[in-house]
Amino acid sequence: MSNKLNASMSIAKPDSQALTKIQKVAVAIGVIGLFILVLAFFNVNFPNKPLFLTLSLIMMTVGTIIFANNAYLTKPEGIKNDGIWFKSISARGIVGWATGIALTVFYIVLYFKAEWFGLAGKGEANTGLIALFDPLSQLLSGRPASQWFVYGVLYTVAILIFGYKFILKYRHNKYERIRTYSVMFFQLGFAFLIPEFMARMNSNLPYYDLKSIWPLNYYIFEEWSVKGFLSSGTLGLMLLLFGIASIFIITPILTYKYGKRWYCSWVCGCGGLAETAGDPFRHLSDKSQVAWKVERWVVHSVVVFVTLMTTAVVYSYLGTDSSKYWLTKDVFLIGVAGLLTLVFALVMIFKRQELAKDAKYGAIGYFVIIMALIGMHYFSGTNDIFLFDATTLKQSYGFLIGAIFSGVIGVGFYPIFGNRVWCRFGCPMAAVLGFQQRLFSKFRITTNGGQCISCGNCSTYCEMGIDVRAYAQKGENIVRSSCVGCGICSAVCPRGVLTLENDSLKGRINSNEILLGNDVDLMDLVNQK
């Protein structure tokens, strides 16, 4: 799709893109709030930090609330996509690009140059932007702020205020409302407050966002993290066990029952930001078949990468003497290999038909990991997998995937590639859940007989770039691994064709040559396979 802003064929500006007076005032209030942060960044030393921080956050919040109220509450309930492709911010216009660049720069500084935000060296006090957040951090956890605390606060505020905006936008839609309350709750409670309080209770505990599950939380099984848990008594041990149970027990059960949406669009922080602050950009995702091919290769490669990396890292700090601790390097490797083989075998035996072409991708991934495991065993004694040192592997993953992909590209590029770039192309958690959703889940999007008019609203507003219409116009259920179940396709459908459902596995993936509406004999004739 071209990036050209083709707002309107007319020379004059369509009226709908103009902001109302109240909206302009709201934007001004929000921008002044943001400007306080910018001043702090340029080392303006505010006399009363708590006051100015509060002022900044409140002004951004109030600005957004006034804007949202004016944009949505002045109109009847319903779909509010008027003029989306005419607005510079949401149609890859100059404002969109500027926002994208600003966000990208922010992320680069955050990840690689935190001292520019005023992060203190050892034994020094924070300055600049980070110092502005010190009082709040002291209040919550009793520690000075870090760049991650600043980021956490802004991230949470963004989800809350844009969540409010989203709720107003979809106030006629109860599914969207409840889902948004859920991401707001999990961000504020689980990602932000609980870890801060835990740090206050027990300073050894690593920062642990309970809802951030391996492999999204790729460092949870690293040595410092595991040591931190194990040195924090029963609570620490419980948390570590919860971390393991999250991916191996809780996740499969919930994904079976509800699809991966229970996580991706109800709980996850990345999803939370994408669904709230990122909502105005959802239509920018690439729907081409080429993009889908790239997506499958990239996201599954990340899964292979993270599995290998984690295995190598855990392997590197385990011992060899089974009399000291039962989990030795070898036991661990055999365990990993066994688990992978089990999953692979089960899929190949029971779900071969449904996978068809994709089976070979799965086989390749499986093969790579197993070969690497054998390699590790073979080179036992060193920490290398083939020629890569486990630390190098970890660092490259952290840099490439953790920082560049999820942060810089994932959020920085919202206004260019849409709000789910990370979730779609990069997130290994999404890939693991998606794999299960495709093969072993009750979730699907159902289409309503022959009612589709191929208008394309569903595909356009699918943030994951799924060509929903391609299925709907065939009367076929949508069972795609990438679907995060945000429900927007169903909301924007003007003919009531789509709905999200959990139902039995049987007949879940269907396909009709002839749609409902024609004579029944014709349908039978043509649909018989």
Binding site: P76, D82, K174, N448, S454, C455, G456, G487, T499
Partner: protein
């Protein structure tokens, strides 16, 4: 290789082409003078409203056609020479066919109003209509007021479109309620109120007399027949229905009436020439259906059927139970089976409306036998498959009311209204009998 030529790349022609390709290896050419690629006509409104760009309305990516060996030809057919099986194009080119499918769709109705061809008067059917609208009504400064003539599905869409650009709209409806030749009174009145809620100047029971031009021949005002009132405006939308787009056929030996006349097999009077979609007219109407059906779904169904016939499996067009859908501003509408504006003789209506004035249903059934005939549903999504089955099974209205929950297609967590509907139904039709 047999060459199948299809005139028209709308839903009918494209569906036929796709199915012929699935069933055979024949050479297929689709001709269009509207757009290079197939797009969803029903989505035109969303382009003007800024919900989508033109690209998004194309259901298949551009590579699809080549991959499936469907040739696309951009050009206007002037005439059909049936004897030599040749098409003559406006630019002088010709094209031979072995079988010809006419799927040229519709054009907007004009009823001979003075001024109906002025600059500034548009219909809303084709991509060209949309382009014209964009040029004439880019914003409220250029278009200070628009007048829409014709209270049907396209009229209300045009009103919604102009509304998104804050262009004041006067909506002239000949009938006493919006679309009330089709919708029962309670529904039509609910939609009237919904239209007014969106700040549309809705004028019911009003006829257009003439359209006035300024010195440049552009629309300046309309005059109302009934009151003589003159309404200044820069745009007039004529949305009083559509009529088959078949002028280029009239001179040929292919028999036409309002549309191209076809039998149940969608064959015209000339061998190897077929007509489907909006432009086809059944010699005898099928059931309660109109002889000319200008609906997306029927076009698609005719395409599916004709592909069978062309590929050697001769098949009559036998549409199943009637269904349709639309959206009136924020209110979705679906219909299954037959519900008439006033119950047919021997039938009764049950009407339920939610107090919030955005949801209602009407069912029509036979008074004596209680046989369920159809449902209109507004603001509540219901399952096509379930109603199709109930109609086939000839269920009673009592049964449908009792099992209404099965037909619910709403989003999770949505409030449901079956209980309230059932209670009302019982109150209205059963208590009285006791």
């Amino acid at each position: 290789m047999e060459h199948i030529v299809i005139i028209g790349n709308g839903i009918s022609g494209v569906t036929a082409a796709r199915h012929i390709r699935k069933l055979s290896d024949k050479k297929i050419t689709i001709i269009s003078a509207e757009t290079e690629y197939f797009f969803s006509r029903t989505a035109l409104m969303y382009i003007y409203m800024g919900h989508m760009k033109y690209e998004h309305t194309k259901p298949y990516e551009d590579w699809f056609w080549k991959k499936n060996r469907i040739d696309l030809k951009f050009g206007f057919v002037n005439s059909i020479e049936t004897k030599n099986q040749t098409l003559h194009f406006e630019d002088g080119n010709t094209l031979k066919y072995d079988k010809l499918i006419i799927a040229t769709g519709s054009k907007s109705n004009k009823f001979g109003w003075p001024g109906q061809d002025l600059d500034g008067v548009i219909g809303l059917y084709s991509k060209q209509d949309l382009d014209a609208l964009e040029a004439l009504a880019p914003n409220k400064e250029v278009c200070k007021r628009a007048v829409i003539v014709g209270g049907g599905l396209i009229g209300i869409e045009l009103a919604e479109m102009l509304n998104t650009r804050n262009i004041p709209v006067t909506f002239l409806v000949r009938e006493t309620g919006f679309w009330n030749p089709v919708l029962p009174k309670g529904e039509s009145e609910m939609i009237n109120r919904h239209i007014i809620k969106h700040h549309i100047d809705l004028r019911l029971d009003i006829n257009l007399k003439e359209i006035h031009a300024d010195e440049n021949g552009r629309v300046k005002a309309v005059v109302i027949e009934d009151t003589g009132e003159m309404i200044p405006c820069n745009l007039v939308g004529l949305t009083a229905g559509v009529t088959p787009n078949i002028d280029f056929i009239k001179a040929s030996v292919i028999e036409t009436d309002k549309g191209v006349l076809v039998n149940r097999f969608l064959e015209t009077n000339i061998e190897h020439i077929y007509a489907i979609g909006d432009c086809a007219q059944q010699r005898e109407a099928i059931g309660n259906r109109r002889p000319v059906e200008s609906v997306w779904y029927t076009g698609r169904m005719m395409g599916e059927t004709l592909a069978q016939t062309i590929c050697g499996n001769k098949m009559a067009y036998k549409p199943g139970h009637w269904f349709n859908s639309a959206k009136f501003f924020d209110i979705e509408y679906q219909t299954y089976g037959w519900v008439f504006a006033t119950p047919k003789e021997g039938n009764a209506h049950f009407h339920w409306k939610h107090p919030d004035d955005t949801k209602c249903i009407t069912i029509e059934f036979e008074k004596d036998s209680n046989l369920f005939l159809g449902i209109n549903t507004f603001g509540i999504r219901m399952k096509h498959e379930v109603f199709d089955r109930w109609l086939t099974e000839e269920r009673s209205a009592d049964y449908v009311m009792e099992h209404l929950k099965e037909a619910n297609f709403e989003t999770e967590f949505y409030k449901t209204f079956e209980k309230d509907i059932q209670t009302n139904y019982l109150k209205q039709f059963k208590m009285a009998q006791l």
